[in-house]
Symmetry: C4
Subunit: 232 residues, 4 copies
């Protein structure tokens, strides 16, 4: 098991952030951390309370969803993680939560409109909400198809997974990802806060306009791209 200890530790640390950030009730969430060289990821075991987790309990799974090491059953969402790792070569971590506000938008089956710079600091577009899956996809290999539903919707919208690192799945909840599991956790807190602010914004002013293009671009470029000047 020694060769997987680094991603088990990373997955464990990232999973433990979810309750601290207020993003999960009970076990309603999971994080995975991948090692591209080994071609596997470590993921939370299914239904185990956060307080009972330890690094060694993280299950090792390959990018086809086959368990490679670990005695526990992996998260029931494991196949969704596997599909995304397999097709998106530059991600190293994935998070799924049922965080309250982001899930409410997913249940409303609406993209989250870009209303301010908090949103633009992270995305230049509305946060996409993939439509609920078809009956065929659901009755088939559901979690596997969830991964394709996410990828197909981003492609349809012309979005790149390296630029847009968060999505809602209609009627379900958010998925986020990033170069590392830590970044994916960060994104899951960001989508929750953006979802909350957008909800409040529409309550305060129902027909509020979206953010103007120049401000979208400015804020995103402050944090990202060749001329970014945010951070150290």
């Amino acid at each position: 098991m020694t060769q997987y200890a680094h991603i088990q530790q990373r997955a464990y640390d990232a999973n433990m952030q979810l309750p601290k950030l207020g993003l999960v009730l009970f076990t309603f969430g999971n994080v995975s951390a991948a090692d591209r060289t080994l071609g596997v990821f470590a993921i939370k075991p299914s239904g185990v309370p956060y307080e009972d987790l330890s690094p060694e309990k993280m299950v090792i799974v390959d990018f086809d969803g086959k368990t490679v090491a670990g005695s526990l059953r992996p998260s029931s969402d494991t196949l969704t993680h596997a599909v995304l790792y397999k097709h998106w070569e530059n991600i190293g971590g994935i998070v799924h939560t049922h965080s309250t506000y982001a899930t409410a938008w997913a249940q409303a089956q609406r993209d989250i409109p870009i209303y301010g710079t908090t949103h633009a600091d992270h995305n230049t577009v509305d946060i996409p909400c993939a439509p609920p899956m078809s009956n065929e996809m659901i009755q088939g290999d559901y979690e596997y198809q969830t991964g394709f539903q996410i990828m197909d919707y981003l492609e349809k919208k012309g979005m790149n997974y390296e630029e847009v690192e968060m999505v809602l799945v209609g009627n379900h909840a958010p998925f986020t990802w990033g170069k590392t599991a830590e970044k994916a956790v960060y994104n899951s807190a960001v989508v929750e806060e953006i979802a909350r602010m957008a909800y409040l914004t529409e309550q305060i002013r129902p027909q509020v306009p979206r953010l103007q293009d120049s401000l979208i671009r400015k804020h995103f470029e402050r944090k990202h791209g060749p001329h970014s000047y945010y951070g150290q």
Copy 2:
């Protein structure tokens, strides 16, 4: 008192979870834990602050609502617990809270519509809200009648208490149950979160449709039934 120590401990532990989960203000809630062999349950004493509770203070009551052991007066909702234990043979724990969002739905006298998979992971139906009781039932043996109001409404809706483990009582608040007191507490946190998400969903999109049948079935079967694959 020794023969009741196990359910007193169980009831105590479960009661202490309510403030930790943010489900109660002051003493606005109570949990009981039953022993089917002994034909009794242990329940929180009435109006005692959570910080003053101890296992020995849990009152022992039989399924007709008669106090069998304990020097304190049992919860004012004891008769509701007794009726449910008497008629539903396979439950081992009951919880009553006035948690904020679930209570708001009860006050609105509305079933909580099934809008997403967080809901479907636990129920295949809208969470039922029993109508407010008639004047006759209220003026009679109120808490006793509350139990019948709950049972009658589930029966009218064609619901089985082993499948649907949570209900709202119109104008009042939620009741939940389960095979154990722990599971009943879990359900009381679940109904609060589902209530909160459903409220937000309707705010974000007023005429939002309910979840499609295939997704309801899929998510419920992931967690329950012969082919479940959630948990260990």
Copy 3:
């Protein structure tokens, strides 16, 4: 100062409950505790952060609002407390906060409708919201007049201060009272929670009916009056 130590301690303890219950931001609240025999009350000094308070810092004031002991200036709301103590002979504690939801109802200048049993456990009537004061009252001895505004509105509504222990002052915020400072603090947490639930209830169902009379009476009598059976 020794003869006031008991009410200083009581006022101090009660004041320290406000931040713990999430009812105050910074110094936006105050509690007083009276000794009817001595004809005085102890009240929080004005603008002193809760973490800097100590029992000895509580200022002793008589029922005409004159400072009797203490080197600090008493709360700017002291005259309101004094007027209520002077006219309502059976109260021993008063609380004023700007708690979020109760204050929002006060700003909306609306009584809080009785929508459920959580409300009925404490009041048989809508929680009264006294109208904003006249320009004359405001430009005169404002805090003194606030006390009369509260008393006048209760009288106009035919309410008894021993039955209704909480009020909103329009455009301002809640005041609560009780036989002891502890009970008054309890009431200030109750009015905040009732305000929050009523707000959510109206959001979930805009034209929701008020609670039926039989249920109002039942729940109030469970907790209060000669046949009460709540608590020990």
Copy 4:
């Protein structure tokens, strides 16, 4: 670096208050503290998590925005701070956050109407929301122009920065200031709470009137001006 230690300490202490007051997620906020004699201010380094901050990490910047001391890059909002210090001679601290409710009002591009005494205790006017900046301002020296946008809007509204110590920038978020960094932090918590209460007030009563003039003046004068009687 010794000569800047006092403002570094002050800026550090003030920055650490933001997460405690629930005003920031991750690094979404910054505080600066100025020394008028030295003509510089200490400000949070950009993108450094609060738990990794220390007084020595605060960057020293002059009122033209030039870094004078410190090895880290200052907050990306540094130029906005510099402009305000340069033009407003009597302020000693500035805070910028993306606190949830204040940011939602900024995204709605609305002034926060004065609905109650909590608001009037701090401002006699609606809390101003400067309109989103023009494309030219955004594409130019954005953070520098943000400072001018704030100043121009206050001037247009006939407001004095020594009386109105908080503003929303449309589509962006709140800025607050004060004689000290501590006071500016206090103001950032106040604007968040006022924003939350105003939102709830409008939900509870959509066409609610603003506060009457006599009450506005009374509450403000209780806390401010020659006849104030709040505090010690």
